[in-house]
């Protein structure tokens, strides 16, 4: 019994390193797997059934045994059977799949938000507390995390197989996905939408850690400025505060508490103010004029990077009164100095 050492190595490596099934590391995963096993089961039944029919008939009616064929026209009953049963199964699959889809793409209201910017060929994660990561993402377990993602150039796709979630990252538009990690560990992030030369290098690690570890990680790796603080600086330096000052006579609408509200637009439509709306309103203001205001806001297309937009959006989200806006108005000369407020993590 001599196994070649190379082969032995190979086998050992296989047993250790190779998985045939991804780990279930998020709350979604068991739901996805349940549907997967259901589908596997009906596939198996289907294949076995078709195989049994083909092989059974082949043996029973082979020419050597059955030299003369009996002509049969067809059978409406039989054909109806194999129309209706597959149809029923497929409809069950459809409903099941749709329910799963809504589970995956409807984030819980209490989820924490992390921004992801995709570009050729890296992932940049931005935590509300100002922690920036490249090709990595630290998340706490046991807590729903929503990712708000955008691409700077081409389509990318943010995929975490062990969490069974994936969402296209689109140029010019926010897309979201959420998950709740259940097991601490390191998992793969893949870009699954082909995005050019180094597509296969656009990978990263997602580190799921216990809430305590996550807490200490956020403390360690903060850059000192939260996204909102960055946004505040940008807000002042670009002069947003001159119109959106929160005064009654201001030329722009008051932004305090605007996030999450329903807004009446000048063109008569009503919109819910969310991240996507805020971003779009900065870039294409003329299509998002609030009722009662003149369409005088200039476009900031090409002047703010996606990161800057995220900062601004995050800042506007955190505005619940106009105190700080007015602060920036009075101290706009000193906005180069970083505020000293300790890095704050938005729940």
């Amino acid at each position: 019994m001599h196994i070649s050492p190379v082969l032995w190595q190979f086998l050992v490596k296989w047993l250790h390193a190779s998985a045939l099934f991804p780990s279930e590391a998020s709350t979604i995963a068991p739901y996805t797997d349940a549907l997967y096993f259901f589908l596997l089961l009906i596939t198996l039944i289907g294949v076995v059934l078709v195989g049994a029919l083909v092989f059974g008939f082949s043996i029973r009616y082979r020419a050597a045994r059955n030299p003369v064929a009996t002509q049969v026209e067809g059978s409406t009953l039989l054909e109806a059977t194999w129309t209706i049963i597959p149809l029923a199964l497929f409809l069950v699959t459809f409903v099941w799949g749709a329910l799963l889809y809504f589970r995956i793409y409807t984030p819980p209201t209490n989820s924490m938000n992390i921004y992801i910017v995709g570009k050729q060929w890296m992932w940049k994660a931005e935590h509300p507390g100002g922690q920036h990561e490249i090709n990595a993402l630290h998340v706490p377990i046991g807590r729903p995390v929503q990712l708000t993602m955008i691409s700077q150039d081409v389509f990318h796709s943010f995929s975490i197989p062990d969490f069974r979630v994936k969402r296209e990252v689109i140029p010019g538009r926010y897309s979201t996905v959420w998950f709740e990690a259940t097991d601490a560990g390191t998992y793969h992030i893949f870009c699954t939408q082909y995005c050019g030369t180094a597509h296969s290098a656009m990978i990263g690690d997602i580190v799921a850690m216990s809430p305590e570890d996550y807490e200490s990680w956020t403390k360690q790796s903060t850059s000192g400025m939260s996204l909102a603080q960055n946004g505040e600086r940008l807000f002042a330096s670009m002069g947003c505060n001159s119109c959106h000052s929160g005064n009654a006579a201001a030329r722009g609408p008051n932004l305090a508490g605007v996030y999450g509200s329903k807004l009446q637009l000048a063109n008569g439509s009503q919109v819910l103010v969310n991240d996507a709306y805020l971003r779009d309103a900065i870039l294409n203001p003329s299509q998002h004029v609030t009722a009662g205001y003149a369409p005088i806001m200039p476009t900031y297309q090409g002047q703010v990077s996606e990161d800057g937009l995220i900062d601004l959006v995050e800042y506007i989200k955190t505005l619940d009164n106009n105190y700080r806006v007015q602060q920036t108005l009075t101290t706009s000369q000193s906005d180069k100095v970083a505020p000293t407020t300790p890095g704050m993590v938005k729940p």
Binding site: Y105, T106, T176, L272, N274
Partner: protein, 111 residues
Amino acid sequence: MSEYHDAANVTNPEHAEHHIVTPMTYTIIFATLLTLTAVTVGAAFVDLGIMNPVIALAIASVKGVVVILFFMHVMYQSKLIKMTVGAGFFTFLVLLTMTLSDYISRAWGLW
């Protein structure tokens, strides 16, 4: 050879007698088309709100149908040709409505 053709196969609905359209008909159609062009230009300068594009498209459709029926002789063609023309516009309609189903309903939800 043609006596072998059975009626079910070659005559209707795939077959129609050949028909020569007269210059008179063509001239009437020509005049109609020019008139409709004038009407559509005129209508564009009247403010009818949402009806403006509707009217413009309606007139264009009438013009198109007239051209198809008379200039292109579909009026005198077999059912097969009529169905073919219909199939083309049907498929275009599928492209239109099914794609619009995405664009229209994007605004409905948050996702």
